[in-house]
């Protein structure tokens, strides 16, 4: 295990974490403001990826594909919010889980119906297809580096939006007292739709960015959704800062676990069983991390009650 490989894997972990943050930020915002648990968030991620793949195939432009992913996911978010989600804010979590589970079924099969079961491919744009030379003689894919940059930029934009703008002020007010801001003359239902659309757009954007690394297929959203859940449970539900810290922690733990655990077990086991045990444990590492955080702080790192 040399240093260069280690740094590359750290960057991979960071890239994965940043991706998770885009998903987790929307989820945690929607939960914080509207008190809604949204299982269909992964479907919005998938919608973004499919929209990007379709537009990229039609126009050949990656920029247009990214814009399409934002627009399609936000639009899908608005429609879903108005037709279904809005009826769920006053319901208990069980109803929310079931209704959004139903939405997953509709989204997944609907996408399969339109695009078929075969995965689509989204190419990395030519300008970002090479590798970038970093200090210490590391060559790292430019596209992954760009994802890290995009993600950090979005995190910063979210931070500014929430702490520095009027809509951010309303979102924060909505988190602390829903009825009061309604009484003060803010149109809550428009605010809720906007927050939902924002979360959806972030998820769709993440889907498009990841779509260029992995294949774009039905069911791609749910594994990410569950990791995003783990992320916000670790960070504390409702906290954007918690989502960011949790996402980076989960990204690094998962990536480094896959690299380091087999090596660690290799020091006292024969190679083939070390690989097996290491891989099996690595696949469980983030859940063990979550359990550990919950033992110490049941409401997550930045959660309040």
């Amino acid at each position: 295990m040399n240093l260069i490989l280690l740094i590359e894997q750290l960057l991979n972990g960071l890239q994965f974490g940043v991706m998770l943050f885009l998903m987790a930020a929307g989820l945690t915002l929607i939960f914080g403001v509207m008190g809604l648990i949204n299982l269909a968030h992964g479907s919005l991620y998938m919608v973004g990826a499919f929209a990007a793949a379709a537009v990229a195939a039609a126009t050949g432009s990656f920029t247009l594909a990214l814009i399409a992913s934002l627009a399609a996911a936000a639009l899908a978010g608005v429609i879903v919010e108005i037709v279904v989600i809005r009826r769920l804010y006053d319901r208990d979590h069980l109803d929310q889980v079931l209704a959004t589970f139903a939405l997953i079924l509709i989204f997944s099969e609907g996408t399969r119906w339109v695009f078929g079961s075969f995965p689509l491919y989204l190419d990395v744009p030519a300008a970002l297809s090479g590798a970038v030379a970093l200090p210490f003689g590391i060559n790292y894919p430019a596209y992954r580096l760009a994802i890290i940059g995009f993600g950090l930029l979005v995190a910063l934009a979210m931070y500014l939006l929430i702490t520095r703008t009027r809509i951010g002020m309303r979102i924060r007010a909505g988190e602390s007292d829903r009825e009061m801001i309604g009484a003060l003359g803010v149109n809550i239902s428009v605010l809720y739709t906007a927050v939902f659309a924002l979360g959806a757009a972030l998820a769709g954007f993440a889907g498009a960015l990841v779509g260029a690394i992995q294949s774009v297929q039905v069911g791609m959203g749910e594994p990410v959704l569950i990791l995003a859940f783990v992320t916000i449970v670790i960070g504390g539900i409702g906290s954007i800062r918690g989502a960011f810290v949790g996402a980076v922690l989960v990204g690094l733990t998962d990536t480094m676990g896959r690299v380091l655990l087999p090596v660690l077990f290799g020091t006292f086991m024969d190679p083939s069983s070390a690989t097996a045990v290491g891989a099996a444990l690595a696949s469980m590492s983030i859940y063990i991390l979550m359990a550990a955080v919950l033992l110490i702080k049941p409401t997550g790192l930045y959660g309040s009650a």
Partner: protein, 329 residues
């Protein structure tokens, strides 16, 4: 408004009549389908204890379903290959005897429920949902990446496991066995619901502070309910493995958890026979809609949305009218 017992009786009669008719008419496929209904209903009965009575929205019950399945698969695969599970410190061999497999499925599920429940129940509400979901996924990824028992490909049980005195390869005899187990589980759950434990559990769901005030600790009640619930679902998993003669990581997937929850909701939460009605409706839909369209999950999703948004008592609630089970709304 005492229509619910009548509906329950009708369901039992239906579960007897359909396979008997299929046996007479020589339609083994229908018997297998009804067996599937009964086994999935059993998994739902397990979840309903935690969900309906205890108010614990677990999205991780596939964990127990899968553990039960793998208990059957692993024991049978060792028995098939005459390769003992361990030789030291004492010899443990595989087996194809159903009672032993069931015992193992129940015990291991209960132990896992104890460990995961003790941790998850420290939280509540939406945290609980996400954590149970995450624990389920943990088992899913573990079985995929653990190569000893088939990994992603799963395990085959070449000959269905045995039960003393029965020929389990005969569909109607295997059905009878599963049906009796379902009735026993329903009986146990009905007794539990009326016991002091069940009443306190129900009370803790409705008003935790009051239960605490009379000196009962809700955490213990819920943990106990989660353990029994997991054990029942684990038993269903073992039967399901024998029905298909195959186990795979899919049994652990979060979709399985979602579907078990759908049985409970389609039928009616906290209704004793809710999961049975729900599983029957689900399999019926799968057969009818699945025959019409490859994309039948769209219709299932739409139906589920309608049930959640507009018909909150599920099928039994619709037929029996409001009343039992909706006391907290």
């Amino acid at each position: 408004m005492r229509r619910e017992p009548l509906i329950n009786a009708l369901i039992v009669v239906g579960l007897l009549a359909v396979p008997l008719w299929a046996y007479m008419a020589d339609e083994p496929y229908v018997i297998t389908l009804t067996t599937k209904v009964v086994i999935l209903a059993l998994a739902g009965v397990g979840l309903n204890l935690a969900l309906g009575l205890g108010g614990l929205v677990s999205l991780g019950h596939a964990m127990f379903f899968g553990i039960g399945g793998y208990a059957a698969g692993i024991l049978a695969s060792h028995a098939q290959s005459y390769d003992p599970i361990m030789e030291w410190p004492f010899l443990i061999e595989g087996t194809q005897s159903m009672p032993v497999i069931w015992l193992l499925a129940i015990v291991v599920s209960a132990l896992v429920a104890l460990a995961t429940g003790a941790l998850s129940l420290r939280t509540s509400g939406v945290y609980f949902i996400m954590i149970t979901l995450a624990f389920g996924q943990m088992f899913y990824y573990f079985t995929i990446s653990w190569p000893a028992y088939g990994g992603e490909d799963g395990l085959s049980i070449y000959v269905r496991d045995h039960f003393p005195g029965l020929n389990t390869l005969d569909p109607i005899q295997f059905y009878g066995l599963c049906f009796v187990i379902l009735l026993l589980a329903l009986f146990v759950v009905a007794r539990l619901a009326r016991s002091g434990f069940g009443l306190a559990l129900n009370a803790a769901r409705q008003n935790e502070a009051r239960v605490r005030a009379v000196g009962i600790e809700p955490y213990r009640l819920r943990l106990m309910a989660f353990i029994i619930s997991g054990a029942i679902t684990g038993l269903a998993g073992a039967l399901y493995a024998d029905l298909n003669r195959f186990v795979s990581p899919t049994m652990f997937s979060w979709q399985t958890s979602g579907e078990i929850m759908v049985f409970v909701i389609l039928g009616g939460v906290a209704r004793l026979f809710g999961p049975v009605a729900g599983a029957a409706l689900f399999i019926l839909l799968e057969e009818v809609l699945g025959g019409l369209s490859e994309y039948w999950h769209i219709y299932l999703g739409a139906l589920l949305l309608i049930v959640v948004l507009f018909a909150r008592g599920g099928l039994i609630g619709l037929l029996a009218g409001q009343g039992k089970g909706d006391d907290d709304d």
